[in-house]
């Protein structure tokens, strides 16, 4: 079944679940490659939290859809065009500064989103959000501390951190782009209207950048932005190919 025909609620759960799944997959790439052992542990922690969120949300999407698809069917058997994550989540790790810029932007947004989602009229989403708020507060804090250290560390780290921000900045606007589906669910008290999150996001990120002696990038949004519509970046197909190949090589097998 194509994602286009899913009920609104299933699509919404899938969007949030895909954000967490795809970013978790990216962060997993740091394990054994981190700058110090404590960061192997911390990044694995964050990746695990995100994976936990993804599993609950994808399972819920499958349940709402009612066609018998479970978390693995949704994670492993959809193609690129059917993934609904924001493009920011899929950007390659590149170096530690890019990863931390991505993490600061994403976690700050995700925290604001989940704080509101805790009062969702949908009990499952409210429950996921309640747990996520605690996790993501830590993720945001972790990224904040690193952006401060790198921005206000050495000349080299400052330069790299600034360039990491420039790299991810074009993908920030999509985080705050709402659409009809989200508006319909928001008017029922189920979803959060992301366009309302920007002031809070700006306040946190601007204060971090200022303290870190970094400059807020000026570049406008990348157009057209399309992760939520299934229009992804070129690197995304490779992420899925790697993630899905083993599962797809053994149709119907149990692991």
């Amino acid at each position: 079944m194509s994602v286009a025909t899913l009920p609104d609620l299933a699509t919404y759960a899938l969007r949030l679940g895909d954000d967490s799944l795809v970013l978790s997959q990216r962060l997993g790439g740091w394990i054994t490659n981190a700058p110090e052992l404590e960061e192997d542990v911390a990044l694995a922690n964050i990746a695990l939290d995100l994976l936990g969120q993804a599993r609950t949300l994808l399972s819920y999407a499958g349940e709402v859809e009612g066609a018998g698809r479970d978390e693995d069917d949704l994670a492993y058997l959809r193609d690129e065009r059917d993934f609904r994550n924001v493009a920011l989540a899929e950007l390659p790790n590149s170096n530690f500064a890019v990863t931390m810029a991505r993490q600061l932007c994403f976690s700050t947004w995700q925290l604001a989103l989940h704080q509101r989602l805790t009062s969702s009229a949908d009990e499952t989403l409210a429950g996921v959000a309640g747990k996520a708020v605690k996790e993501v507060s830590y993720h945001r804090d972790h990224a904040t501390q690193w952006v401060l250290r790198l921005g206000d560390g050495t000349d080299e780290s400052h330069r790299r951190m600034q360039s990491g921000l420039e790299r991810v900045w074009p993908y920030v606007a999509e985080l705050f782009t709402t659409d009809e589906l989200e508006q319909r669910l928001a008017s029922d008290g189920v979803a959060v209207d992301v366009s309302a999150l920007r002031p809070e996001w700006d306040a946190h990120v601007d204060s971090v950048l200022q303290e870190a002696t970094l400059t807020r990038p000026e570049g406008g949004p990348m157009l057209p932005a399309g992760g939520r519509r299934g229009i992804h970046t070129e690197s995304f197909g490779f992420l899925l190919a790697e993630m899905q190949h083993l599962h797809r090589s053994h149709p119907g097998a149990t692991w």
Partner: protein, 310 residues
Amino acid sequence: MDEFQTLVDADERIEPRDAMPEAYRRTLIRQIAQHAHSEIIGMQPEGNWISRAPSLRRKAILMAKVQDEAGHGLYLYGAAETLGVDRAELLDLLHEGKQRYSSIFNYPTLTWADMGAIGWLVDGAAIVNQVPICRCSYGPYARAMVRICKEESFHQRQGFEILHTLSRGTAAQHAMAQDAVDRWWWPSLMMFGPPDDQSPNSAQSMAWRIKRFSNDDLRQKFVDMTVPQAEVLGLTLPDPQIRWNAERGHHDFGDIDWSEFFAVLNGNGPCNAVRLERRRRAHEEGAWVREAATAYADKHRRVSSTAGAA
């Protein structure tokens, strides 16, 4: 140092501030460092499959396991640091090839079933080796090991469960499981080290109660433990000579190819170069990050101490 040996003989714990023979300290540093290095190099063969784990549940379990290994590395470097060395120094020795890590991690993980075989056999062998270290004469090492052993036995059950599922899955999955066991069995037996008559440092380590059982005794214990588990799994251990010997009360098993062991130990295993290169690269590429963290901490220490003075 007779006083020292008396304490050890009485099964007292030696603590960091206690007097100890220099050779005891050196032996412990070398062993604990090697153990710590094994944990962090050992993250690589399993880390190799995180991105490809075949279900989200398995992905979460594997990621948590590799994270535990990083945690074990941290406790062990911490235990070594109580002996007056620091982690950075030990990592340099690893990166320069001057300290070793367990040779088992120089074998490649070629299929998903290797995640099962590593958990079942490699972690299983590690537990047999490490449980006696929980009573080691050096307190910080013994205590680190208690915590590590608990987590390892959890990992071992997870590995067993991966193989159990594969063995009872499709024909292709069963074959994958058998192939992994075929490749990991002999190297796992080698994890206990050379036979007793070729293990020169063992006697002193036994006298110091760093080591409590001989390599061959531990190896036998592992074989005896593993043979019935293989039957439960429905998998065959690749040694036709394995059979119960009622007279000895143990399983007999075939001869280990020690030339392979020494070749891998001396750098000629399939992944020696890759593992070390990956570790060095992560360290080198992370240098600017660590430098930034230090520079930032220095700046802010200065700022806060100035503020405190005012």
